[in-house]
C-alpha cells in the first residue's frame, strides 16, 4: 500500500509539474447486513488457485503446440489442436475471474492472482515421442484439471469446512451449480473427445505407425475429427 501511495505521489509530481493532479477519488465502501458479497475465504482461495491451474494448463498446451509445429516433427494438425486448447484454457481462467468479479471479489490482492514466472517453471513436458503420447498426455492433463474443479466444488459446498470445528458451514449454491453445470460439462465432453482420439490413433499405430499418424494429422488440420 505504501508503495502505491509513494508511486502515486511520484507519478503525480512528474506528470504535472504545474497544477495539481487528482488521481484518486474516495471510493465509498458500503457494507450491507447481510453481506451481498457473501463468498467465504476458503472458497475464494481455492477459486484463485484454480485460475492458476487453468493458466498452467494453457502454458502446457502452448509447449505441445510448439513441439508439433517444428520442422523435424511436422504435425501441423496436432499443433493447431494444441494451440486451440491453450487459448481455451486461458478462456477458462478468464471465465473464473469474471465469476469472482461478478460476486464482488478481487477488489484487492489482484497482483498475486497470477505468478508469471511460475507459469514458465510449471511446464512439465516439452517433448513427445509421438502424436499419440501427446494425446495421452493431454487426456491426463484434462483429468487433473477436472479433479481440481471437483475439489473446488467440494470446498465451496462447505464439505471441507465441516471437518473443522467452529467453522461456519457455507454452501455456495450458485458457484457450485456454475462449476458443475458449465465447467464440468465442458471437461467431460472434452475428455470424451480426447479419449476417442487416443483410441482411434492407437488402433492405427499397431500396424501403420507413421502413416497412421500422418493421416490423422491431416484430418486434425482439416477439422475432420
Amino acid at each position: 500500500m505504501k508503495a502505491i501511495v509513494a508511486s502515486t505521489l511520484l507519478l503525480c509530481t512528474f506528470v504535472l509539474a504545474t497544477g495539481d493532479l487528482q488521481c484518486s477519488h474516495t471510493e465509498p465502501l458500503y457494507l450491507t447486513n447481510p453481506r451481498w458479497d457473501d463468498m467465504v475465504d476458503p472458497c475464494v482461495n481455492v477459486m484463485r488457485k484454480q485460475i492458476k491451474t487453468e493458466l498452467n494448463a494453457a502454458m502446457q498446451y502452448l509447449a505441445m503446440g510448439a513441439h508439433f509445429s517444428k520442422d523435424v516433427v511436422n504435425r501441423p494438425g496436432f499443433a493447431k489442436m494444441f494451440f486451440e486448447s491453450a487459448s481455451e484454457e486461458r478462456q477458462h481462467a478468464i471465465k473464473l475471474i469474471s465469476y469472482l468479479l461478478m460476486r464482488g471479489e478481487l477488489v484487492s490482492d489482484v497482483s498475486s492472482l497470477i505468478d508469471t514466472r511460475a507459469l514458465f517453471e510449471k511446464i512439465n513436458w516439452t517433448k513427445w515421442e509421438s502424436g499419440l503420447s501427446a494425446l495421452k498426455n493431454a487426456l491426463t492433463l484434462e483429468a487433473l484439471v477436472t479433479k481440481d474443479i471437483k475439489n473446488v466444488i467440494e470446498v465451496c459446498e462447505g464439505h471441507t469446512n465441516k471437518k473443522r470445528q467452529n467453522q461456519e458451514e457455507v454452501n455456495d449454491y450458485h458457484l457450485v451449480d456454475y462449476l458443475t453445470g458449465e465447467f464440468l460439462e465442458e471437461q467431460y465432453k472434452g475428455q470424451r473427445d480426447l479419449a476417442g482420439k487416443v483410441s482411434t490413433l492407437s488402433k492405427f499405430m499397431t500396424d501403420h505407425g507413421d502413416l497412421g499418424e500422418f493421416l490423422f494429422d491431416k484430418k486434425l488440420l482439416k477439422g475432420d475429427l
Partner: protein, 225 residues
C-alpha cells in the same frame, strides 16, 4: 541458352557441395530395391538456413515477453472489473491488450518453428530487473504503465529487426525483418500513440475540478473503442 548455363552452373555448384540435403540421400536411393540404413546426420535437411540462429534467440525471447505481458494486462483488466473500480472501459482496454499479446505469442511461436527453430519457454530477463508489478493502481497510472510496457515491446521488436538486418556482418535475414515490420512495428506505433494520447487527455482532465466525472466519461469512451 544463357539461362541453361546459369542453371547448369548452379546445379553443379549445389550438387558438388557436400552439405546438401540431397547428398545425404544420394547413393542411398540409387535404384536398388534393397533397403539401406537412413543417414545419421540430417541437419542439412531442416528448415534453417542463413544466420537464423542468433535471430531465433531474440525471436524466442520476444514470444516469451508477449506471454508475460498478456498475463500482466489480464491482471490490470481484472482489477478494473471489480465492483469498487467499476471501470468497464478500462477493463476492456486492458483485456483487448491481453488478448492481442496472447495471440501474438502464439503467432511468434509458430514463426520460430517456421524458421526451423525450437521454442524455449523461459521467463524473460526483465522479470529480474523490473520492480515487482503492482496492478492495483489509479487509472492514469495504469495507462502510464501500459504505455511503458508497449514501448518496451516495440524496442524488443527493433532489437529482433536489428539482428536480422546486419548486412555488413553477412547476417541478413529479410524474411524476419519483413515479418517484424508487417506484423509488429506498425501497430505497435499506433498503440503507443493511442496510449500517449490517453495520458494527455487524462492529465488535463484530472487537473480540473471534475476529476471523478472525467474518469467516468473517459471510461464510457473507452468502452466504445
Amino acid at each position: 541458352m544463357k539461362a541453361f548455363v546459369v542453371f547448369a552452373v548452379l546445379f553443379v555448384a549445389v550438387y558438388a557441395a557436400d552439405d546438401t540435403c540431397y547428398k545425404k540421400f544420394d547413393g542411398i536411393c540409387s535404384g536398388t530395391t534393397a533397403k539401406s540404413p537412413l543417414p545419421v546426420d540430417l541437419s542439412t535437411c531442416t528448415a534453417s538456413y542463413g544466420h537464423i540462429d542468433v535471430v531465433l534467440r531474440h525471436l524466442i525471447g520476444f514470444a516469451n515477453s508477449h506471454i508475460v505481458r498478456s498475463m500482466e494486462y489480464l491482471l490490470m483488466s481484472t482489477y478494473y472489473g471489480n465492483y469498487q473500480k467499476n471501470r468497464a472501459g478500462f477493463e476492456k482496454l486492458f483485456r483487448d491488450l491481453s488478448d492481442a499479446k496472447w495471440d501474438h505469442a502464439i503467432e511468434l511461436i509458430k514463426h520460430v518453428t517456421t524458421r526451423g527453430g525450437s521454442m524455449k519457454f523461459t521467463p524473460p530477463d526483465f522479470l529480474n530487473t523490473e520492480e515487482p508489478n503492482v496492478y492495483e493502481g489509479y487509472e492514469i497510472q495504469s495507462i502510464a504503465k501500459a504505455l511503458d510496457k508497449e514501448k518496451q515491446l516495440a524496442l524488443e521488436a527493433f532489437k529482433v529487426h536489428n539482428e536480422a538486418s546486419r548486412r555488413t556482418d553477412g547476417k541478413h535475414d529479410p524474411e524476419i525483418s519483413s515479418y517484424i515490420e508487417e506484423e509488429f512495428v506498425h501497430h505497435q506505433a499506433k498503440n503507443i500513440r493511442k496510449l500517449a494520447g490517453y495520458v494527455t487527455d487524462l492529465k488535463s482532465m484530472l487537473s480540473g475540478p471534475d476529476g471523478s466525472l472525467s474518469l467516468f466519461l473517459f471510461d464510457e469512451y473507452l468502452k466504445g473503442q
